[in-house]
Symmetry: C4
Amino acid sequence: MTARLPEAVTALREQLVGLHTELVRWGLVAWTAGNVSARVPGADLLVIKPSGVSYDDLSAEAIVVCDLNGDLVDGELTPSSDTAAHAYVYRHMDDVGGVVHTHSTYASAWAARGEPVPCVLTAMADEFGGEIPVGPFALIGDDSIGKGIVSTLAGHRSPAVLMRNHGVFTVGPDPKAAVKAAVMCEDVARTTHLARSLGEPVPIDQSDIDRLHQRYQNVYGQ
Amino acid sequence: MTARLPEAVTALREQLVGLHTELVRWGLVAWTAGNVSARVPGADLLVIKPSGVSYDDLSAEAIVVCDLNGDLVDGELTPSSDTAAHAYVYRHMDDVGGVVHTHSTYASAWAARGEPVPCVLTAMADEFGGEIPVGPFALIGDDSIGKGIVSTLAGHRSPAVLMRNHGVFTVGPDPKAAVKAAVMCEDVARTTHLARSLGEPVPIDQSDIDRLHQRYQNVYGQ
Amino acid sequence: MTARLPEAVTALREQLVGLHTELVRWGLVAWTAGNVSARVPGADLLVIKPSGVSYDDLSAEAIVVCDLNGDLVDGELTPSSDTAAHAYVYRHMDDVGGVVHTHSTYASAWAARGEPVPCVLTAMADEFGGEIPVGPFALIGDDSIGKGIVSTLAGHRSPAVLMRNHGVFTVGPDPKAAVKAAVMCEDVARTTHLARSLGEPVPIDQSDIDRLHQRYQNVYGQ
Amino acid sequence: MTARLPEAVTALREQLVGLHTELVRWGLVAWTAGNVSARVPGADLLVIKPSGVSYDDLSAEAIVVCDLNGDLVDGELTPSSDTAAHAYVYRHMDDVGGVVHTHSTYASAWAARGEPVPCVLTAMADEFGGEIPVGPFALIGDDSIGKGIVSTLAGHRSPAVLMRNHGVFTVGPDPKAAVKAAVMCEDVARTTHLARSLGEPVPIDQSDIDRLHQRYQNVYGQ
């Protein structure tokens, strides 16, 4: 079966091993609880972490390939139990090339209260363009989580959504951008948590948030 | 004496060295305060960390073998001062193949208040099937701690118990599962602490907790 | 063009790679959000991190050289988007040889509330000689941030300023001293945050702060 | 001059390099702010870290030897600016063979409020035998800090004292024991801080604290 896979799959499998290492390095995951996927360009396929495999044991060969219904197309192992949610996002958001899911600590604490992270940091205006919104409570096992992600992100500039009582999903044009959004989401969730715990952060005017976001999306980086 | 030990002991000693490293890696222990044990399958024996030995200095040879009364059967060193508690668990819980004890920070903070960790995260429903309960205050030196662990766990699906003013004991079918429970216990204790520190987490319906737990115990992983 | 650069540039580029590693090591930065610059002695030049490059990929060659208006003089990459702020500081503070910018967590939490860090620790009296002040809210893109840094530091002994809703800028006679100030700023911001979260820290008399600062600036170290 | 030093000095210098690494590993120090000393057995000498040297650059040769007035006896570098406090402790506490000083975060937060850490954890009863007390505010430069340490410890079983608005000093029969006390002090200061931040910890009866301390001091370890 492997012979018929697009060539891009090999490089994406390698890349995904490295990106899962970033989840560990930035402290976003405990044990095996977090996963990264990538859309295979030009094909109705995605690559994703297998279920319950520890990050130390993750190799390119262990990464599985699924179709956009989340069914296994290539690989020896069972796909992540979050595959259906990732697949739903790829089916309904054409611009998304990468999806990340974590239970990162501070973001999940906001999610447990069902409270969006308010935009009170310039770094948050840059990356998220406003608050990080909260999606509905949804059980695993069907399209509920995917639908909650897509419908919530539709109303916001944020590439991150806090699923209530659950954790974080982030999206990006490619999987590295989605990992960056996951790292930044935890970072601003933590700083904002701490700011709030001793008083009220100063709000930032919406027009300033707009200007910061506009600039960052167009000028920052190489 | 070593000649009469079951063959499984050698591999378990090696495994325990690696699992103690996981306690350090996931930040569950300070100095030497935490230990892992394993039941030796088909024998009334357990293997456990020696007392007060630093994790750096832990070798397979240093791991001691005790009977299920906690008395030393093989090894040069004094067994962990928590051996009696581990042994009591093995004597009274036939399905338990591994036990872990830590003073991990957030879990011990809940334990110091004598307050169970409420189940407000889907990851907690998955792994613990409800709250993480609190066991009684008990002094070291006899069966008090073991009794407190066993009687508290009897009323809950949780593989973890917070012993009041003390720390965490977790159990599992094997020592790796018990270590996973210890890692996840600290993770959810931390997220829930932070959620609570800025307001009230949204409760999860008991029926949803049941469904999540049921699914995770049967579908997750390989 | 490289041929005409002062000799000092080569060593400063090397040093800056190492100092960015310190930002990571002491936990001051997430992803690529933080930068160090150095004034080139005897020239109207500075060296600084390129924009959006990850710390792992940072090499001496990647470090860019700019004039004190922030315009690129040598290097293949786009300078940090904070270059204008660094350059403004060098133009207006002759004694400054190094500048650091981070969004370190606890310091940024104080900045989000627009609240200075009060001087309630002897280590803070030593390094900062009083409170760590808050500068104005300022948008990136012109001299606003630089002006805010310089005008705020003018009224304080502190080598660190919290820019409101943004993060930290620190200065020093050389870039290592500015990195030290950034490390110590986060350290005292964290301890003071925690002290305040359970009550009121005991104030330190201004005369004691003065004595501690005086001694530390003249006696400490080699 | 080195020729007349007791033989034990060489091994102690090596040991101190390793023990300073432990301060970093357990997260007790930022930049260069923390030091370990050891009494030289059978001589009126101590060995201690030089002032302001980073932990990476610390070698056995860099460790300095002082007399018990804190004056330099051997070594190229200026002794730690805390040497007078260490020396005072050795002069007045005959059983002390090692002293550690840190500004570890949670312990220093209690110190900033001038509030002792209450004994609400069995691990704290084990190691500290009760609360961790607070010593007076004292300026560096004479015997004030040393006097504050010695007079405060005299009334407690704790090997650790929180110097008000400053940080932690710990003592032990040897430098490793003092480092262990510093690690455990931060650990229990953190857990107790977190316990208190969501309510009131359950007190432990003094008779239970006594029993735990008695047992731990005599039975634990090898």
